[in-house]
């Protein structure tokens, strides 16, 4: 099991959250801190970049819901990119893709919120 890091990069009013390591229930504080940092820098939309993620279990899906609720309460959009075919299927299975827009590329995600 590897720890999660979530680094924040601003792109205008969008924040790119680079997710690395395993995403599990223990990742909640890493996601929460990244959300706070992005919001403090004025992010109106957050793009989760999963291209550096090693593994996500069902506890990690719960962390995504918590992040989504934070965004909804803050009037922010949440998007995702960098997911491989398996994890795209998992977002479909859990119906999270109905609330988190999944994009093939970072550029596409950023363009959709520009």
């Amino acid at each position: 099991m590897t720890t999660t890091t979530v680094d924040v990069e601003m792109n205008g009013t969008s924040a790119l959250l680079r997710v690395r390591g395993d995403v599990t229930a223990a990742s909640d504080s890493a996601f929460g801190d990244a959300y706070m940092e992005a919001t403090a820098q004025g992010a109106r939309s957050l793009v989760l970049d999963f291209s550096g993620m090693d593994y996500m279990n069902s506890g990690g899906i719960g962390v995504l819901v918590t992040t989504l609720v934070r965004c909804q309460r803050g009037g922010q959009r949440l998007l995702a990119t960098g997911l491989d075919a398996h994890y795209r299927q998992i977002l479909t299975l859990t119906r999270l893709d109905e609330a988190i827009a999944v994009h093939d590329t970072e550029a596409s995600a950023l363009e959709s919120v520009a």
Binding site: M56, G62, V65, T66, T92, L93, R95, L96
Partner: protein, 244 residues
């Protein structure tokens, strides 16, 4: 940190495949099989009520099975740990991603609430259920075990919204407490099965106090209403109830 690849970290085998509608396998004749077949899965984002995160835990005392051993037993004998009056019918040998289980829950008035769950995730130390439309909750429920400070701890983590306004009212009118007792009893029984004792703890936090009023129409799937109507049409089933 453990960089060693583990067989239970392959998303191809630990996660279920996406499905459009649920299909139920063969269950015993005494089971009331309603509100599962043909339903879609519904997670916390599809529910109506406030979003709650609940955690139930028990620290095993008097025995120290490994987390994998605890979860292996939990997967094989899942329904046997439930309180009396609550039945889990599993048309499979053990909890496996993609399998669908049937629930017949006793409710006041000799009624039965028929619903189910799908196993969406399972590895060596945890497994997760997701509920169908019409269930009391739109939820993910994760069952796990871990080693903590020299002892084995079993846990149940629930992320839920009540599915519709009726279930939201019932949860606020004592349903949360009833659910707490259900899972605490389950954990006590699980500990006893592993030769241990312990006192379960329960924590409850409201993650989102808002209700999703655009989803109030979920009530059309309400499993309690549909089960009640079915029981009225089949009154003999109220008399010929299976014994615990």
């Amino acid at each position: 940190m453990d960089p060693t690849p583990r067989s239970d970290r392959d998303p191809e085998t630990t996660w279920a495949k996406p499905i459009d509608r649920l299909a139920m396998g063969t269950v015993p004749a005494e089971a009331i099989n309603l509100n599962v077949t043909g339903k879609r899965l519904a997670g916390p984002m599809q529910g109506f009520g406030q979003l709650w995160q609940k955690t139930y835990r028990i620290r095993f005392e008097g025995a120290n099975p490994t987390p994998s051993e605890v979860v292996a037993i939990w997967k094989r004998e899942f329904g046997s740990f439930w309180p009396k009056g609550q039945r889990f019918y599993a048309p499979f040998a053990e909890i496996t991603p993609g399998e669908v289980g049937l629930i017949n829950g006793e409710v006041p008035g000799r009624q039965v609430l028929s619903t189910g769950v799908m196993v969406i995730y399972a590895d060596d130390e945890s497994f997760t259920f997701m509920t169908p439309e019409g269930h009391v909750f739109a939820a993910w429920i994760t069952f796990s075990a871990a080693a903590e400070d020299g002892a084995t701890v079993a846990a149940i983590d629930v992320l839920l919204r009540a599915s519709d306004p009726l279930f939201e009212f019932l949860l606020m009118a004592g349903g949360h407490d009833r659910e707490d007792e259900h899972w605490k009893t389950t954990l006590r029984n699980l500990a006893a099965r592993n030769g241990a004792t312990g006192e379960p703890t329960a924590e409850r936090a409201c993650v989102d106090p808002r209700r999703q009023w655009r989803l109030a129409g979920n009530i059309r799937h309400n499993a309690a209403i549909r089960s009640g109507l079915w029981m009225m049409a089949h009154p003999q089933r109220m008399i010929r109830r299976p014994k615990d």
